[in-house]
Structure formats: C-alpha cells, structure tokens
Amino acid sequence: MIVELGHFALILAFAVALVQSVVPLIGAQKRWAGWMAVGEPAATVQFLLIGFSFAALTYAFVTSDFSLRLVVMNSHTLKPMLYKVSGVWGNHEGSLLLWVLILALFGACAAWFGGNLPAGLRARVLAVQGMIGVAFLAFLLFTSNPFVRMAEPPFNGEDLNPLLQDPGLAFHPPFLYLGYVGLSMAFSFAVAALIEGRVDAAWGRWVRPWTLAAWIFLTIGIAMGSWWAYYELGWGGFWFWDPVENASFMPWLIAIALLHSAIVVEKREALKAWTILLAILAFGFSLIGTFIVRSGVLTSVHAFANDPERGVFILAILAVFMGGALTLFAFRAGSMEAKGVFSMVSRESALVLNNLLLAVACFVVFIGTIWPLIADLLWDRKLSVGEPFFNAAFTPFMIALAVVLPLGALLPWKRAKAGWAMRNLWGALALALALGALAFALQSGRSPLGPIGLMLGAWVVFGATTELWVRAGRGRGLERLGRIARLPRADWGKATSHAGLGVTIFAVAAINAWAIEDIRVVQEGESFPLGGFSVTLTDVHEVQGPNYLSTMAEMTVMRGDRVVATLFPEKRIYPVAAMPTTEAGIDFGLLRDIYLVIGDPQTDGGWAVRSYIKPFANWIWAGALMMALGGFLSLSDRRYRIAAGARRMAAAVPAE
C-alpha cells in the first residue's frame, strides 16, 4: 500500500512539475503576480511529493519487501541495515529517484530562500528548475520506474553489489548528486537571465552561493569516491581516469571556472556572456555525466546499472536543454555588454587565464573520455584512452594553473603591477624552491616528480599564506595576527581552498614518486622487510560475517622492537552475489600509510602478500577537504547574508 502511494506521489510530482514549468514563466512574461507566485508553492509541493515517494521506496528496502522488483534485485534480508538504506540508491532506478529528489530540494530552496530575488527572476528560475524536473520525472516514470511489482515474489533478494556495501560508498552518490544537481541552479539562473536579457552584478552575487554549494558537495563526493577506491580496490590506486570519474571531474573543473568568473561579474561587471556560457556548460557536463553513467556507452568499472535505451532518453534531455539554452545564448549574448574596464595586468586578466586553463583542461578530459567512441564511429578504430594520455595531456594545465595561482590571487583589480605582487611572494618562492631542492637532495636519484610536486604544492600553500598576510595590511606581531584573524571569511575561504589545492598537488606527486611496493609469498609466522619496517604474517583464519565469508590475516608491523600496528587484511566472498572483495589492512599515518593485502594460498604453502608504503596518502583527501572547507567559509561570509540589490533585507543563506 505504501509503495503504491509512493508511486502515485511520484506521478503527482510529475504533474506539479509541469505546472511549475509553465505557469510562472507565462506570469513573468505577462507580469501577472498571481501566476508568478505559483512557482513557490509548486516547488515546495513537488519536493514533498518526491520526498514521500523516496521515503516509500526506502521503507520497501528496509522492510525487505520482495514484491518489489528493485528490492529483489538489490537487497537481501541478511544485509546490514546501513546497506539496506544505501541500497535504495545503489541501483539505476533508485539513484535517479535520489537525483530528482535533490533536484526538487534545490528548487524548493530557491523558493524558500529566494525572497530577495526580483519576482520575475525568481519565477523564471523556478520554471526552468521545473522543466528539468519534468524531463527527469518523465525519464523515471516511463523508462526506469522503481515501483514495479513482481508477479511472483521470491523468498529472498539477490543482494547489493558487494563492492557497494561500504560506508564510504554508501554516501558517495548522495554527495555527488548534490553537486551534479546543484549545478542545475546555476543553469536555471543563467537561462532565466537570458530570458530576461539582463545580467548584472547582483546576478553574479545570487548565482555564486548556489554554485559554491554545489561545488563543495561535488568536491566531497569525488574525494569520497577516490578514498573508497584507495582502500577498497586493493592496490591503493585513487584515481583511474575512468569515464565515470571523468564524468564527475568535468563539471567540477567547469564549476571552479564558473565560481571565479562569477566573481568578475559581481565585482567588475565584465565576462558576463562567458559566465553565462560556463553556467550552461557546467550543468551540461553534469547531464553528460549522467548520460555516461546511465547509458554505459563508455565501458567503465562503474557500469553496475545501465542500459543503452535509457541512454537515448538522457541524450534527448541533454539535446533539448543544451540546444535550447545555447540557442537562447546565441540570441542574447550580444546584448550583454561588459561595463568594467581593466588593463592587461590585473586580477581580471588573471581570472581570465584561470578560466582558460580550467576550460581547456576540462576539454582535454572530455575529448579523452569520448575519443574511443569517436574513433569507433568515424574510423572504425577500436582504441583505448587511459591514464598515460591524461597524465601527459591534462597535468600540464594543472601545473600552469598552480604556477600562476599565487601571483594572480594577489593582483589588485583594474590595474596592477606584476612586480608589486611578486615582491610579496619572493619569500614563498624561495621557501618552495628550498623545499624542492632539499627533497631532491634527500631522495638521491629517484624521479624528479616528487621534488617538483613538493615545490609546486609549497608555492601554492605559501602563496595562500602570504596573501592572508598581505591582506591584513599594516601592523606588526600580534596586532597583525589579530588583523589576519579578523579578515573576512571570504578571504579565509579563498586562502584555505587554494592551500588545499597545493596540498593535493603535493600529495599526488608524492604518492606516485615515493611509494614502495612489495609482492611475495609469505609463510605463516614468517617476517619480511618493508621500507624501514618489518612485517610478520602471524595468522590466517576464516571469519563468518553477516552476509559474507572472510579469510582474515593477522599481520604485525614492527619498527625495530616496537609494534607499529597490527593489521587484519581480509579477502571476502559474498555468496549471494558470488563476488569476492578485498579489504586491505591499512595503518593510516600522518606521513605514510602502511597498506597490506592478503592474496591466495599458494600450492606449496604460504600466502601471496602484497604490501605497500604509501607516503602522504591522506594528504590527497585532506587537500580536497580543505578545498571544500574553504568553500564553506566563503559561503558563510556575511555579504551573502546581506544580499546586494535586495528588495527586502531577508536574511537568507541559499545553501544546503
């Protein structure tokens, strides 16, 4: 009964979305206040209906209602409760329901917190948001209905893909979707502005917090996925340039470009058309990402739930929204005159360079991702584009970005002298070079990747620190520190995010350059050296888990006579899904992770063991979290609470 109600609520939500996408739009055009006002209650009702529908599906999963096809295919009574819940979005239909739920949530937030928007703009934003809702609800209802019943319900389900039964991965999709779908707000604002034909500083200020919020979630989502890959897949890789990873990485890159160019719109009323284009493209890449994941057109490790026919539907959605928005853009872009003027050396120019590098880097990822498809279609060549290509073609842009970042961030608006900004940065540069040289001297004869990464990362981190120092202005000692502490949160956010990028750059270089690997057969009781440690395989035994069988090893890591850690790497088998997984034993450390994996028993006794020392592994995700934290700091800055050009001074933080 509850399931039927959920299904019915979803159909009602579709009808409400239809109303929301038409009535406010006409109202805004004809200036009918009543019609415009329909958008807000419609957005709220749509959110409540989809929320109910999602709750109904969750209920079916939690109670293991095996009359529902989706539950049968993705659940099992023995599965732990956390994964019964996360199983709701661990499949195609459920994850799309989560997608539309988040879409409706963002629409409702625009209705709830959009009080300071001009009525016309708000109505149009809600209408565009409604249209996206219509498209995806139709997709859900007509091709991927989660509420299909079974004629003959079985006694038990087929279990969730064991790789997905992991706390890190349980929350990876919701964050990613908050990011993907959050970018729909930037898109709606862009299209609404195009319909109105007006983009000004206030628009830049309104669109930034939404983009920032979406980007924060995307950052966290990507970091979670990467961390999961690191500890779950069993060899400590954290990024594979897999099509689906690229699908989340492209909107992330474009969202960064958008965040920076929206600053130029807000502060200087320039780069308007470009910013609008970025807002459209950011969501476009989110849709492309959804298409890549859901169609399985590009084979990837993530293709656990896909179907080519559904791909065509998403491609149609993509064509309609991108085609429509870009056509509108072509007609209206010319009318968006820039006001601000600035010289060749200025913050504006630096941000143009930032945008150029990010956009080209994104394009490189894009073409690399779809190239196998193009080559197959046009020249019938079956080829692969993998990590070596992306490392060679993408990395230079990130290096260039890191090199110019500290300088660009310090340049004043309008007109600047590079010499002035550089004068403040000599200290940071000298320190970075010294650190790089030191690392080069210490590592003696290994690849220069590590020292270069350290130099670059340190340059970015010290550059961000220098910026805070310079912004604080006059004063000495404690007084200056006090000034630094009192700097606006936006300044702190900027410095934190930039420093986070530096940390991640360093960590990625370090783990690639300085990792130690060891593969060998080890007898029970035997010890072997690993880096400066000694590892002993103490014992191997079988353990029965709630829904799996585990071969668990006990391994002791010693440094001299001191026990550093006792680790329990596992090899699990999930009988229902007939799938094995590896659970590495990891000792997380500040400077290094010790990463142990147990393999097969050997015919002549002993076990295959793979062990690694991964230097600075945690710094990769710490850097990503710093980027996200910087976003939060910036989002909490008071100028977002006191919106410029507001009709009424409603306290509104349009996020979460």
Partner: protein, 154 residues
C-alpha cells in the same frame, strides 16, 4: 544431506570466485631491472575483459596471460618497443592505454594545446579590447566630471 550439499555449493562458489592478486609472486622476474620494465609496460596495457583496468591491476586470467607474455618477450631480449609492438600485433590497438599519435589520433593529442593557443589568442584580443576602452574612455563621463567639479566647489 541437504546441508552438506549447501556447504559444497558454497565451497565451490568460494573456490571459483577467489580473488587473485593482480601481479602474483610467481610471475615476478628474478632480474629486478627486467621486472621494473615489465611493470612499466603492464601499466600501459589494458585488460581486454575488464572495464578500464590495466593488466597490472587486474585480477583476470587474461591479464595474467598478458603479463606473462610481456615478461616472456622481455626475457627473449625484446626492447620495450618491440615487446609492445608484438602485443599490439596480436591483440590490436585496443590494448594500448596510451593512444598512438598516428592518423586521426593526432587530433586527440593536439586538441588541448590547440585550444589553449586559440583561447590565448581570443582572450588576448578581448583583454586588449578592455584596455582599449580603458584608455579611450575616461574613468568619469563628462557629466560626472561636471558633477564632481560642482561638489568640489561647494
């Protein structure tokens, strides 16, 4: 009896689906220099039956065969290029994770640098334009100047 059969089935499942490690200890070559070369080559080769995994990372049997083949060629005295050519001859271009620069692939490799140059050109022109207006346009319009003069007089 039924219980026993269930156990047997389970044991069979476990045996069939045992995850093998990517590179097995018995594959490793005695000569560390040769082994390092083999690893390097493996990281550029795609496992044909997997989804976007290198043969170095993959657990599949086919990946193991390929790893052994790479080592066999290196032991036979092949250079890196010759060993790769041998494998591409057998399995096709699809195994290469690093696409060649031959033919249409040139577009792929030049897309990034090309777009960067074009972008630099366009944004350079745009920035010059902004500066042009900066110089041609006084910062204050004549009306504003008049107003400023008025205020200053007061």
């Amino acid at each position: 009896m039924r219980l026993m059969r269930a156990r047997l089935t389970l044991a069979l499942c476990v045996a069939l689906a045992m995850p093998a490690l990517a590179v097995q200890p018995d594959e490793v070559l005695a000569d560390p220099a040769l082994e390092a070369r083999a690893r390097e080559l493996s990281r550029g080769l795609r496992c044909l039956v997997c989804r976007n995994e290198t043969i170095d990372d993959s657990n599949a049997d086919l990946a193991r065969d390929l790893r052994l083949l790479v080592r066999e060629r290196l032991l036979a005295g092949d250079t890196d290029a010759a060993a790769m050519a041998f494998i591409v001859d057998r399995y096709g271009e699809y195994v290469l994770l690093n696409p060649t620069t031959g033919g249409a692939n040139l577009i792929l490799w030049l897309a990034g640098p090309g777009l960067l140059l074009a972008g630099l050109g366009i944004s350079g022109l745009y920035l010059r334009g902004r500066r042009g207006t900066a110089e041609a346009d006084p910062l204050l319009s004549s009306d504003e100047k008049a107003r400023l003069a008025e205020i200053l007089k007061e």
